[in-house]
C-alpha cells in the first residue's frame, strides 16, 4: 500500500520544529526514527499527516550526566542506548531492554523518545521509564514542561503531550550503588512485542515493578511492590495478578498473560536475589 502523506518538512533545530508543527493545522506529526510511524503510514492507518522530521536535531541526541541524573536526548537511538557506557553504569535496565526491542535494523533507527511518545503499551522503554521514575522534558512554543513518567502515559498510544509539543529529552535518576534493575519478558519470537513483560527495580526506597503488554498502558504494580517491600514474594505475585486485567488477542488470552506476569515476577525476583536465572 502507498502512504498518503499531507506533506513533509525537515526541521533545522528544535525551535524550527515547533514552528513547523504550529503551521500544520493540527495535522502535524513528528517523525523521529520512523519505525512505527512509517509502517502506520504505509498501511494507511493514518493519512494526510504533515511530517515534521526532527531526525537532524543534534541537540536532542546523546546521553549526558546531569548531577544525580542521566539526561537522554529523545533522538538517541535504541542501538546507542544499548552500547552507551553511561547507560550501562547508571541505567542498566535500559541497556538490557534494548536486547528485547525488535531487530538490529529497527534498533539502528528507532529512538527512545519516539518509543516513549508513541506509547505502545507493548513497548519496553515506556515501562522502563515508569519503573525508573523518569521525567519527560517537553518543549513547546508556549514553554518547556517536565512531566513525571507516572503522569505521562494516559492510554494506548496516548500521552500527556499536547498538540504542538515535542518530547526533547528524558532524565533518569542514576542507579544507587546497591540498586538492581532487571527486565523480563516473553515474546513469541525474538524481537516480537512481548506477550507480557515486567521491569523490576530494587532501590533503598523500595521495589518498583512496572508491566508492559498487560493493559492499555504501562503500569506500576503498586500492590506487588508493597508485598515485595514486605519480603512476601508469593503475596507479590498474587497481588500482581489481581491488579492487572490484560487483553486477549490472536497471540494469547488475557488469562495467559496474567499467568505469565506472575512467572515473570518470580523470575525477576530470583534474578535480583541472585537466583538461578
Amino acid at each position: 500500500m502507498k502512504a498518503a502523506v499531507g506533506g513533509y518538512a525537515r526541521a533545522r533545530d528544535l525551535r524550527h520544529a515547533l514552528e513547523l508543527l504550529a503551521q500544520t493545522n493540527g495535522m502535524g506529526r513528528v517523525l523521529a526514527g520512523g519505525q512505527s510511524l512509517v509502517a502506520a503510514l504505509n498501511m494507511r492507518l493514518t493519512t494526510g499527516d504533515v511530517l515534521v522530521d526532527i531526525s537532524a536535531l543534534s541537540e536532542c541526541r546523546g546521553v549526558v550526566e546531569d548531577g544525580d541524573t542521566l539526561r537522554i536526548g529523545a533522538l538517541t537511538r535504541h542501538a546507542e542506548i544499548g552500547r552507551d557506557p553511561l547507560i550501562a553504569a547508571h541505567a542498566p535496565l535500559l541497556a538490557e531492554a534494548t536486547t528485547h526491542i525488535a531487530h538490529a535494523a529497527i534498533r539502528n533507527r528507532g529512538t527512545i523518545g519516539g518509543a516513549i511518545a508513541h506509547a505502545d503499551p507493548a513497548a519496553e522503554f515506556p515501562a522502563c521509564a515508569l519503573a525508573l521514575g523518569a521525567v519527560m522534558h517537553v518543549e513547546g512554543l508556549a514553554g518547556a514542561r517536565e512531566i513525571p513518567a507516572a503522569d505521562f502515559f494516559r492510554d494506548t498510544f496516548e500521552t500527556a503531550l499536547e498538540e504542538g509539543e515535542i518530547l526533547a529529552a528524558i532524565t533518569i535518576p542514576k542507579a544507587e550503588p546497591d540498586e538492581v534493575q532487571v527486565i523480563e519478558e516473553v515474546a513469541r519470537r525474538s524481537g516480537d512485542y512481548a506477550l507480557a513483560g515486567l521491569c523490576l527495580v530494587r532501590r533503598a526506597a523500595g521495589h518498583r515493578v512496572s508491566l508492559f503488554s498487560t493493559g492499555p498502558k504501562p503500569m506500576l504494580a503498586t500492590g506487588a511492590m508493597a508485598a515485595l517491600d514486605a519480603g512476601d514474594v508469593e503475596g507479590a505475585i498474587a497481588a500482581l495478578k489481581g491488579e492487572i486485567d490484560p487483553p486477549s488477542d490472536t497471540q494469547a488470552s488475557g488469562a495467559y498473560r496474567r499467568h505469565l506476569a506472575g512467572v515473570l515476577l518470580r523470575r525477576a525476583v530470583a534474578r535480583i536475589e541472585g537466583g538461578t536465572r
Partner: protein, 793 residues
C-alpha cells in the same frame, strides 16, 4: 545409454556435485528482473476495491468520487468485466462429486469472502489507484456468514451457494480391508483429534502481473510471477476469448512461490481483462495486506483419527475422519479438493498394514479460498499418522524408534501398494531410520534428556517418518480434464562459439532450477557449466511444459534436459566423426572439446566445430545431418507418482512455566533418488523444514465469527524467523527411480511434510511425564500451558 553416476571422477561429472548457481550473482547484485521491475510505455496500475464483508449482496457501486482523483483512468465493476471475461468452475472429473459455483474475475451480485475483488480502479500510478479505490462507494447488504467448518453441513447453517444445494464441496471415503474387525480385535487402540491451522505461503515477492494487449498483433503478453506459464496461457486464452497461440506468458525472476503462485487468482485475470479492454499495459502487484486476504490459504483441517495395534506394536488398522474448509470457491483449475484427497492418500504411508479407512469432507465457508501449498496434505497426514504411532508406542512402552522399525515397509519389499492404493516403486525407510539414529546419536540424546529431566528441565525427542509424492503423471490433474501438462520438454542447442543454450518448460522460482538444469546439460553435452545458458519461463520460446509444482522440476524437467543434451551430444559427435574421419562411438565430448575417450587427447574444439557447421558447411559431406538443436520431452508412465521417503527428528525444550518451546536441533534423512546438486537439495530440505516448523509453532490465520481475518500482517501472522530456528542436520539415502536415466525424484517438499509431526511428537515426549498432550497446531505457549492445566480461566 548410461552415465556412471557412481564414479565421481567420470568426465563432465557435474550431476551430483555442488555447482555454483549461474543466476546467483544476478540476484545478489540486485540485477534480477521481477515483474515489478518491468515498466512499459503507457503502463497503468490497477488497485482493487475489496469486500470488507465475508458475505454480502453487492448493491449500487458509486465511483464518482474515485473517478475525480487525479490520474484515474477508469473504474471497472464485475458486470463490466463479465462482458469480456467468462467465469470459471474449478472441478476435476476424477474427483467425483466435487462441485463449485462459477467464479468471476470481479464479484457480481455477491461477495463471498473478506478481500474478494468488488471493483477495480485503473490509474497512472498505484498511489492514485489506491486513493481512488478507497473512495469507491459500494452499497453492501450483509448476508449470513458461514465460518465454522464442523457445522457447515448442519441443517441450520445457511447455504452459501443455494444453487449447489448444500455447503459440501467434496467428500471421499476410501476403505480397505476389515477396519471394524481389526479395531474390535486389537490389543490397543489410541485416538485423538488433531488440528492443523490455516496457513498461507508468504512469498517474499507478492503476487505480481503485468499484462499488455497489442490489438495490432492480436496478442496478449503477460509478465507473470507464476509457477506454471503454460497453464496460465491456456487460462487467459480460454476466458478472454483469445487463441491460445496469441497469448504469451513470460515468467522472469520469481521471489518464491511455495504453491501460492500456481493458481488462478481473480484479480490477476481481471488485470489481463482490463489490459485487453484498455489496449494498454496494466500492472498489478499485491501488497502485503491484500496478500493475506487473497493469496490462497491452506491446511485448515480438523481430524479425528484412531489407530489399532497388536501387543507387539504392529499396526493393524487406521481410521481417519478429515474435515477441511476451503472458502467459498474451489480454486481454479487445480481445485481445492486435492488437499483433503491427499490426506486420504497419504495417511499411514510409511507403514505395512492392511486395514485402512479414511474420509475427507470438504466444505464451503466464507473465508479466503484454500488450495495447494507446499507439501499439499503431507504435513497433515504425517502429523496424524506419526502422532498416533507415538501414542501407541507410549501406551505399549515401546521406544518410538523401535515402534517404527517394526512397522515400516522393509527396504526389500518393493514394489508395494499401500492400503491407500498408493504404489511405491522403491523406498528406504529402514536405511533412512538407521542413518537418522546414527546422525542424532539417539542413545546419547535420550541420556541427555534424562539428565535434563533430573534438573527439572523438560526436553523431548520426536521422530516422524514420512512419504512424499513427487514427479506426478497425468493422474494428478490431466485425467480430470485440466489442461495442466505432466510432461515437460527441453530444447538444447549448440551455438557457433561452442556454447550451449537450453530452453526448459520448468521454471525458476528462486530455488535453483536453472542451476540444476545447467549442470545436467553440462554433463549431458560435455561442456563446463559456464558454457551453458538456461532459458525458462516464456511460453513463446520454451518447449511446452507443466512448470514447477509437486516437486517435479528436477525429476521431469531434469530428465528432459538430460535426454535432449545427450541427443545434442550425439549430433555433435556425428559431425565431429565426419570432420575427423572417425566414428561417433570412438569420440567423446569433454569440457567443450571433442576428445579421444581412451587418452583424453583433444581432437577438435566445439568452437571450431561450430565455425565449420555454421559458416563453412560447404566443407562437410553433403547430406551429413548437422542438427545442433535437439528437443526431448519426458513424462513418467510406470507409476502415477514417484514417491520419496524420509524421517525427521526434533529435539526441543519446553518451558513448563511459560509454555515456550525452544528448538534445540533438527535432523532429516531423506531419499529423493539421484541427487543432482547436494547443496540445493540440502537447502530445499532446510527451507522446507523451516516452513514446517512455522506450521508447528507459529503460523495461524485467525478469523472472527463474522469472517473477518484479524491477523493479516507480518506483525500478527508469525512466520518462522532465523533466531528461533535450530541447527539442522540433513542426511541422504539415494534410491533412484528407474523411470528415468537421471533417477531423480523431488526434494522440494520433504522438509515441510515431516517437520510439524516431529515437533509435535517431541513436545509430547517432553510433556508425557506431566500427563499432558497437545495435538492442535500451532503449539503456542498458551496451548501448551492449557494442556498442562496451568491457566486459570
Amino acid at each position: 545409454m548410461t552415465i556412471q553416476f557412481g564414479n565421481p571422477d567420470r568426465p563432465n561429472s557435474y550431476i551430483g556435485k555442488t555447482v555454483p548457481r549461474p543466476n546467483a550473482p544476478r540476484l545478489v547484485q540486485g540485477r534480477g528482473r521481477f515483474v515489478d521491475d518491468v515498466a512499459l510505455p503507457r503502463m497503468a496500475h490497477v488497485a482493487f476495491v475489496r469486500s470488507p464483508y465475508a458475505h454480502a449482496r453487492i448493491g449500487t457501486i458509486d465511483a464518482g468520487a474515485a473517478k475525480a482523483v487525479k490520474g484515474v483512468l477508469r473504474v471497472f465493476t464485475g458486470a463490466d468485466l463479465a462482458e469480456v471475461c467468462t467465469p470459471w468452475v474449478a472441478v476435476l472429473a476424477h474427483l467425483k462429486g466435487l462441485k463449485s459455483p462459477p467464479q468471476h474475475a470481479i464479484a457480481i451480485e455477491r461477495a463471498c469472502w473478506v478481500g474478494e475483488p468488488v471493483a477495480a480502479v485503473v490509474a497512472t500510478t498505484r498511489a492514485a489507484a489506491e486513493e481512488a479505490a478507497s473512495l469507491v462507494e459500494v452499497d453492501y447488504e450483509a448476508l449470513p456468514v458461514v465460518t465454522d467448518m464442523m457445522s457447515a453441513l448442519d441443517e441450520t447453517t445457511p447455504v452459501i451457494h443455494p444453487d449447489l444445494g448444500d455447503n459440501l464441496a467434496f467428500r471421499r471415503l476410501h476403505e480397505e480391508g476389515d477396519v471394524e474387525g481389526a479395531f474390535a480385535g486389537a490389543h490397543t487402540v489410541v485416538s485423538a483429534r488433531f488440528r492443523t491451522a490455516r496457513h498461507t505461503g508468504v512469498t517474499l515477492e507478492p503476487r505480481s502481473i503485468l499484462v499488455d494487449w497489442n490489438p495490432a498483433e492480436g496478442q496478449m503478453v503477460a509478465w507473470h510471477a507464476t509457477q506454471a506459464p503454460h497453464m496460465m496461457q491456456t487460462v487467459f486464452a480460454k476466458h478472454l476469448d483469445i487463441p491460445e497461440s496469441r497469448v504469451r506468458v513470460i515468467c522472469g525472476d520469481v521471489g518464491g512461490s511455495y504453491g501460492i503462485k500456481v493458481h488462478v487468482y481473480p484479480d490477476e485475470v481481471a488485470t489481463a481483462a482490463i489490459a485487453k479492454v484498455m489496449g494498454r499495459p496494466v500492472k498489478f502487484v499485491a501488497d502485503r495486506l491484500e496478500s493475506f486476504t487473497t493469496d490462497i490459504h491452506a491446511r485448515d483441517h480438523v481430524i479425528d483419527a484412531r489407530l489399532a495395534v497388536d501387543e507387539a506394536g504392529k499396526i493393524l488398522a487406521m481410521d481417519v475422519d478429515d474435515w477441511t474448509g476451503i472458502g467459498p470457491y474451489s480454486v481454479y483449475p487445480r481445485t481445492s479438493a486435492i488437499e483433503g484427497n491427499q490426506v486420504v492418500n497419504l495417511c499411514g504411508g510409511p507403514y505395512d498394514f492392511a486395514n485402512y479407512r479414511a474420509r475427507t469432507t470438504v466444505v464451503f465457508q466464507n473465508k479466503t479460498p484454500t488450495c495447494q501449498y507446499r507439501a499439499v496434505g503431507h504435513p497433515i497426514a504425517v502429523a496424524i499418522t506419526e502422532g498416533l504411532v507415538d501414542m501407541a508406542a507410549a501406551e505399549l512402552g515401546i521406544d518410538p524408534v523401535e515402534m517404527r522399525r517394526r512397522n515400516v515397509y522393509p527396504d526389500d519389499a518393493y514394489p508395494v501398494t499401500s492400503p491407500a492404493k498408493m504404489r511405491f516403486e522403491g523406498l528406504s525407510h529402514q536405511a533412512s531410520l538407521d542413518k537418522l539414529v546414527a546422525l542424532m546419536d539417539y542413545e546419547a540424546l535420550r541420556k541427555d534428556q534424562a539428565e535434563a529431566r533430573a534438573r527439572g528441565v523438560h526436553r523431548g525427542i520426536g521422530i516422524a517418518s514420512f512419504i512424499e509424492l513427487t514427479n506426478p503423471s497425468p493422474f494428478m490433474y490431466g485425467i480430470g480434464g485440466a489442461r495442466i501438462s505432466a510432461q515437460d520438454g527441453c530444447t538444447v542447442r549448440m551455438d557457433p562459439d561452442g556454447s550451449v543454450v537450453a530452453l526448459s518448460g520448468v521454471t525458476e522460482q528462486g530455488q535453483g532450477t536453472e542451476a540444476m538444469l545447467a549442470q545436467i546439460v553440462a554433463e549431458g553435452v560435455g561442456v563446463t557449466p559456464d558454457k551453458v545458458r538456461i532459458v525458462t519461463g516464456d511460453t513463446q520460446v520454451t518447449p511446452y511444459g507443466g512448470g514447477t509444482w509437486a516437486s517435479r522440476g528436477a525429476g521431469i524437467g531434469g530428465e528432459a534436459a538430460l535426454q535432449a543434451s545427450r541427443a545434442l551430444r550425439d549430433s555433435i559427435l556425428e559431425v565431429a566423426a565426419a570432420m575427423l574421419q572417425s566414428e561417433p562411438g570412438r569420440l567423446d565430448i569433454r569440457a567443450g572439446a571433442i576428445v579421444d575417450p581412451e587418452t583424453g587427447e583433444e581432437r577438435l574444439s566445439l568452437e571450431e566445430l561450430g565455425r565449420i557447421v555454421y559458416f563453412r558447411g560447404d566443407t562437410l559431406p553433403k547430406g551429413l545431418p548437422r542438427e545442433l538443436v535437439q528437443t526431448r520431452h519426458f513424462i513418467t508412465s510406470d507409476y502415477p507418482f514417484a514417491f520419496t521417503n524420509g524421517v525427521q527428528a526434533s529435539y526441543l525444550e519446553v518451558d513448563v512455566e511459560t509454555g515456550v518451546v525452544t528448538l534445540l536441533k533438527h535432523w532429516c534423512v531423506e531419499d529423493c533418488g539421484r541427487i543432482i546438486n547436494p547443496q540445493l537439495v540440502d537447502e530445499q530440505i532446510r527451507g522446507g523444514i523451516v516452513q514446517g516448523l512455522g506450521g508447528a509453532l507459529y503460523e495461524e490465520i485467525h478469523y472472527d465469527e463474522d469472517g473477518q481475518l484479524i491477523n493479516g500482517s507480518m506483525a500478527d501472522y508469525l512466520v518462522p524467523m532465523a533466531a528461533e530456528m535450530p541447527d539442522m542436520i540433513v542426511g541422504h539415502v539415494e534410491t533412484p527411480t528407474k523411470e528415468s536415466l537421471l533417477g531423480a525424484k523431488g526434494a522440494g517438499e520433504a522438509g515441510t511434510a515431516g517437520a510439524p509431526a516431529a515437533v509435535m511428537n517431541a513436545i509430547n515426549d517432553a510433556l508425557r511425564p506431566l500427563g499432558a498432550r497437545v495435538t492442535e497446531m500451532p503449539f503456542t505457549p498458551e496451548r501448551i500451558l492449557r494442556a498442562l492445566g496451568k491457566i486459570e480461566g
